[in-house]
């Protein structure tokens, strides 16, 4: 504790640094996120047909997301912990509301209409699920005992199943891994993890039975994309052509022909990585992956530095979920994972995903910048 107090004195007295610290902003993380945002605009300019209006729209969303991040960075982790259960319950209630409204109205619904914007409860659940699991496990001795594991699993399963029912497989997967991440970092034994994987494998046929036709389609297409070049396999084939034709150095900015010629659908959203790989090549991809790894490493560092169990579990799980985000999206675009609707974090066009992501980073910053006062 003493060393940290001293460290504070030794930090270089730059003006920007001071302001950012006052704002509870973690500078390395902030710089990395800012870089990602810039990268996003560069690539969106290319995929969006060089339309400036689209960039303005995205800039407004990113601005809002950064603002929310700063706001959350100010909330003391102690408060987050206190309200974990309430926030989680609220999120589950909203999910139920959406589900019921969807059944009354026609077809699937994922959002609540709140006048000037749409609110997706499933986004909020991405943050509150790791919060409640961390809250639940934090005050008892770790690793968790079977009874606690059971309750924690319920906390994870309830929102996951509700979201899978919407049906939004991608988000369900992210919610499950954010909760599962907490269990992993809480010291869940490796044997138990292997066991759960085995159970899941055994359950696969049952899950298959309950899947929607279009979800089954996606899995089947993943296994054999060439079978239906016009229909289900179209995305993957076109995206592989885009990536492969990029080569080592890429075709250069605005040089993508695949998205330009409308070969590649969803080139601004879920499949934006294909355009990125086509224009910037293998080197660009390595750069982007490095940026992601830096962000993840910084988050894990913050988690390692955190002073209480709740913060540790929450921070590490958020870092882990961010990686799952990256891995699932890129994996699907390069054809090693099935197509589930997950955007490329920080890069894809759209507001919901970036707002949630940056809110998560806000929580991480709060954990990091409040710990000195917490430890006193």
């Amino acid at each position: 504790m003493k060393t940290e107090t001293r460290n504070e004195h030794f930090e270089p007295p730059s003006i920007i640094g001071t302001i950012l610290r006052k704002l509870h902003i973690d500078i390395p993380l902030f710089i990395a996120l800012f870089l990602a945002a810039i990268l996003s605009f560069i690539i969106l300019y290319s995929t969006g047909g060089q339309e400036i209006a689209m960039l303005y729209r995205q800039a407004a969303r990113v601005g809002l997301a950064f603002f929310l991040m700063t706001l959350l960075a100010h909330v003391h982790p102690y408060q987050l912990k206190r309200y974990s259960a309430i926030l989680f319950s609220l999120g589950v209630l909203l999910l139920l509301a959406v589900l019921i409204m969807g059944q009354i109205g026609k077809g699937a619904q994922r959002w609540l209409e709140l006048g000037f914007f749409r609110f997706q409860p499933s986004e909020m659940i991405k943050l509150t699920t790791p919060m409640i699991v961390a809250w639940y496990l934090a005050d008892s001795p770790l690793p968790p005992k079977p009874r606690q594991l059971f309750v924690a699993t319920l906390f994870i399963l309830i929102p996951t199943l509700l979201i899978a029912k919407q049906p939004d497989l991608g988000t369900a997967l992210l919610v499950a891994s954010s909760g599962g991440g907490v269990l992993f970092f809480a010291g869940l034994s490796w044997q138990l993890m292997l066991f759960s994987v085995a159970i899941l494998a055994a359950l696969a046929p049952i899950i298959w039975h309950f899947m929607h036709d279009y979800q089954r389609d996606r899995v089947l297409t993943f296994l054999n994309p060439e079978a239906d070049p016009l229909g289900r396999g179209y995305h993957i084939i076109q995206s592989k052509i885009a990536i492969g034709s990029g080569g080592i150095y890429g075709k250069g900015w605005l040089g993508s022909t695949q998205s330009e010629l409308d070969f590649l659908p969803e080139s601004s959203t879920d499949f934006i990585f294909a355009v990125f790989a086509e224009e910037f090549g293998l080197l660009g991809c390595l750069g982007l992956l490095t940026l992601y790894l830096i962000i993840i490493a910084r988050c894990l560092y913050i988690a390692a530095q955190a002073h209480d169990t709740y913060c540790r579990l929450l921070a590490s799980s958020l870092a882990f979920t961010f990686f799952v985000y990256v891995f699932v999206n890129i994996g699907m675009v390069i054809g090693v994972l099935p197509v589930v609707g997950v955007p490329l974090p920080l890069i894809s066009y759209g507001g919901t995903s970036i707002v949630t992501l940056l809110s998560g980073f806000g929580i991480l910053m709060s954990i990091h910048t409040h710990k000195k006062r917490l430890s006193r």
């Binding site: 026609k106 699937a108 279009y214 885009a242 080569g247 010629l261 790989a277 293998l282 790894l293 994996g331």
Partner: protein, 612 residues
Amino acid sequence: MADIYSVKDSASERRVFLKRIVASFIVITLLTSALIVRLIYLQIVVHEHYAMMSKENSVKIVPLVPSRGIIYDRNGKILADNTPSYSLELTPEQIENMSDTLQKLQKLLNISDDKIEAFQKQYKRQKRFTSSPLLLNMNDEELAKFAVVRPYFPGVDIRTHLVRHYPFGELTAHVIGYVGRINENELKELPLSEYRGSTHIGKLGIESSYEKELHGKAGYAEIETNVQARSLNTLSENNPEPGASLYLTLDIDLQKIAYDALEGYSGAVVAIDIKTGGVLVFTSRPGFDPNPFVVGISSDAYNSLQSSPDQPLYNRALRGLYPPGSTVKPFVALAGLEYEAINAQQKLFCPGYYQLPGVVHKYRDWRKGGHGSVNMNEAITQSCDVYFYRLAATLGIDHLHDFLKQFGFGETTGIDLVGEKVGLLPSRHWKEAQRKQLWFPGETLITGIGQGYYQVTPLQLARATATLANKGKVVTPFLVNKIVTAHITKPGPEVHKDTIKLASENIETIVEAMVNVVHSERGTAKSIGKNINYQIAGKTGTAQVFNIKQNAKYNENEIDFKLRDHALFISFAPAHDPQIAVAVIAENGGHGGSVAAPIAGKVIKQFLKSAH
């Protein structure tokens, strides 16, 4: 032991946690490396292959849209087909001065500023060599005007594409339905490989029920394109599978007669070929013109249809719910005979009202003075309410419900149209389950004359009539007779036949009474029985729109048109060799005999005339 574990060991927890952080980072790095390996494979190892596919002449797969199946009536008249629609398209690359060209075209063809503006927005987003439409759905005059000056407008062309067309318009709107643009929700549930390139989908009626058959399957062509996506040549074609043509049982001439006969009323006419169950007439008035829905109806036009008090968008034949009124009496009488609750010759006295023992309330007859002493034949012929109050009271609601259910009341008919209403055949069980109330004896009485909770659709009424005419062999109505593709001809939906056990002399008694309704001096529908050389069996009905107070007299001149009773009529002909069953409902028609019966009469007359 338990104590040791319940103490929180921060130091050891922190150690475990740090180990996990390290483990997770290793896993993350490994997985990222896997991604990188895959990227290296795609971008270095097989780069040449993909570069070839994408470079210079790349192969583009374009969908080939199947043509939608044609819908015919039973005589081969076209009810829905695809007609060419013309649009004026401009190719920017070939036009020297765009704003000048637009100005000239605007003057020539009287194009609105909005359209010019929309075009300007659209064409700037597209490649210079692809054409963008300026004017859709050009009429003959516009086509002619442009044809004359065409040589002076290089880069401006008339393009043709197929649009669904319904030649009979409002006459078939409720049965054929229409196609419209595929919306987001529909897109999610469609088999994408079959719908690539398709823009429209059946939204209503036959178009929707037989979407799968009518649509066909998309094909695709592999087209060689250069780097600007200009098509160079077609490499291979996988032809689309065109949609199947449908041959309906519907007779459009008969449909027109029914629709015209309903003139002045909202209502529905359904006629069924008794021998097969094929639906001959399926009409709901007012109809609407389905053609604007295909190209996208303007919101003003749609709103005025929506808010029209006559509700033209409402499919009365399929979804309209009405009390059957006295048209249910032949069925109730048959129930009385089958359960031996009454003898056909037995006379009951009708003083003009009926009272349950110990109840003050008078259940009134429509004729204030009563019908005197009537047997079953007379009770049906004159539509005596008191006779049926007493018969219903004797039968009880359970027998009444069970017997009527066999004729398909209170359940869907199984017709091959989506969105059919179930109606309601009240029962003790229904009331307890839905209303949490006991069944009252008085409710049995009004069920016996087709009032109260009882609700039927015109289609159900026609089906029940056809089943009665068919001597208890249950008729299941259907519309599609044949499904014809290039390779095979399939029959329409399979029809299962149940038979209600009925004594033939009992049916004979009922048919005789229904013949008297039309052909005897005291019959309530005698107006249509004159000057015809065949016999019609029928029954009139009047469904109350509102309740008349005790002892008040119903005077149709004094009440608002909208509150007048609905007029109903069920019939089949020829009475002793039944071929066609017709049900008619004319909303606010007042009397079944004077308004609804003549409509059925016209349909039957035309049908028998064309059959011979």
